[in-house]
């Protein structure tokens, strides 16, 4: 897995998004996971909530830091990765696949314009 996969889009807050029709899968990038260190807890209680782009949807904690999580697109939270409850380390082990955090039903496809391509994201890290 590359540090910045080519099939994803990115936000300035170091979230990645994978689009599949109307559903977006969201997680944090390798860069973010490495800066945080060993993840100990992922706190998301926005199930079924309608959020605007860049609203806070949860928090992610490591041993020594805690970071807010922001939705990269507007939409409704339709799924939360429950496996992270008992295995928060999945975010460190595989942040782009089994470390996914939430799934959104996209409400405004135009929001994608606000996100970064892999090349643009590489520039900011």
């Amino acid at each position: 897995m590359s540090d910045v996969p080519n099939n994803l889009k990115y936000s300035k807050d170091h979230e990645w998004v994978q689009i599949n029709d109307n559903v977006a899968t969201v997680g944090i990038t390798l860069h973010a996971a490495e800066s945080l260190g060993d993840i100990v807890y992922v706190d998301v209680n926005s199930m079924d909530k309608e959020l605007k782009q860049f609203d806070k949807f949860g928090e992610i904690e490591s041993v020594k830091a805690v970071s807010d999580l922001y939705v990269p697109l507007s939409g409704k939270v339709i799924d939360i990765n429950e496996t992270l409850l008992n295995n928060p380390e999945f975010v460190n082990e595989d942040c782009y696949e089994k470390g996914w955090i939430i799934k959104l039903e996209i409400s405004n496809k135009n929001d994608l314009d606000q996100l970064l391509d892999p090349e643009e994201y590489k520039k900011i890290i």
Partner: protein, 481 residues
Amino acid sequence: MINKELPLLMDQSKKGRKAINVPKYGVPKAELPHSKFLRKGIQLPEVAQLDLIRYFTNLSSLNYSIDTNFYPLGSCTMKYNPKINEQISGISGFSSSHPNQIDENVQGNLEIMYDLQNELGEITGLPAVSLAPLAGAQGEYAGLLIAREYHKQCKQDHKNVALIPDSAHGTNPASASMAGLEAVTIKTTKEGDIDLDDLKDKANENIAVLMLTLPSTLGLFEPNILEITKIVHDNGGLVYADGANLNALLGVTKFGELGIDICHSNLHKTFSTPHGGGGPGSGPVMVAKFLEKYLPYPHIKKEGRKFKQYKPKSSIGRLNGFYGSFGIILRAYVYIRSLGEGGLREISENAIINANYIQERLKAYYELTSSRRCMHETVLSASRQKKDGVKAIDIAKKLLDEGFHAPTMYFPLIIEEALMIEPTESESKETMDKFIESMIKISELSKSNPKEIIEAPINLPVERLDEAQAARNPVLAWKKQ
């Protein structure tokens, strides 16, 4: 330090063992409450007295402490905790003194509190002093409550912003939040001084208070202090100084003469009361005369020859169950009485010379955060060592192997790989020289054999802990295996 397994008491427990005998009732038994209120069975360890004493004594030997090791912890002022303070606080007239007694029967205690109020007022130049807060963070919170109450009484309710430098200690924004203030960050220069332009920009009529640490968390004195306090006052705000670093200012300058309105102090730092592994502490709050009526209660006053507790006219309220941490207050007062003016001046003089000495001797090996003279502590950066893959935390762990407690790390947040070193006036040149030699050795090792630093500590009863596991699967109490 010993290196043996010390199983928890519940794992050593055996039914029928006991460590003490208690008296018989000696009176007729009364009827017990209804059975729905009664406990059936209680689980606690059962151990004999020798095993208990051995256990805790062995545990104590697993600790570093001031009595055993040098603790160059910046901002903590790990100075010697004089034994006479302990002895006097153990006098039964003090330790058995009940806090619900009427004033007439506790004149000794009230006199001590009244005198310490005055001594601290004189030292800081802020004459109205409350000894109620139970720690620095509570003193800080009290200071903010006083500011808010003052503004409220002046009908300035819109003042709800606390300006806080980005170099501040975490308790500052936490306390501001508890006091319902919006924490607005003020930029500091790379030497930790307040960025005057940013301050002028953000200082407006909504400022309730500017929270400053003086000397700053980089161990430097704010050269523009007079202008800073004036800017805040011109906007109708108050200036609060976090007095954690007061050890640099005893007899050097007074907060009250620099335009500061409110400050707190940590008796368990500047005034030698023991840290106890994390408390108890005491964080008196000192204010200018015009703010005296807002002080928490009970406050102590003198009427004629009698000492009395009272509630100030517009008091912010009660912060705790009784008077404050009296045992700690007493220890601090004993300390101040053992030193007097001359002794207190000597403290800051030596604390500052010691810190500058260490800074001077280490500057060739570690990045200095400033070329200025420091006050009582110096902040170094391990940025050079980081290039060799050695971080501040690794240096800290290696220092443990060398027999020194680590300095404060990663604080202030604005300095990369920060190591904050505060020797205090308690340390001899010989001790400091040994510490300096270890720091130099580590700096050289980071080039020749960084692995040795990264694997540290190896000489202690335990090596680096899996803190991720501790947070992921918290085990917070004994459980039967």
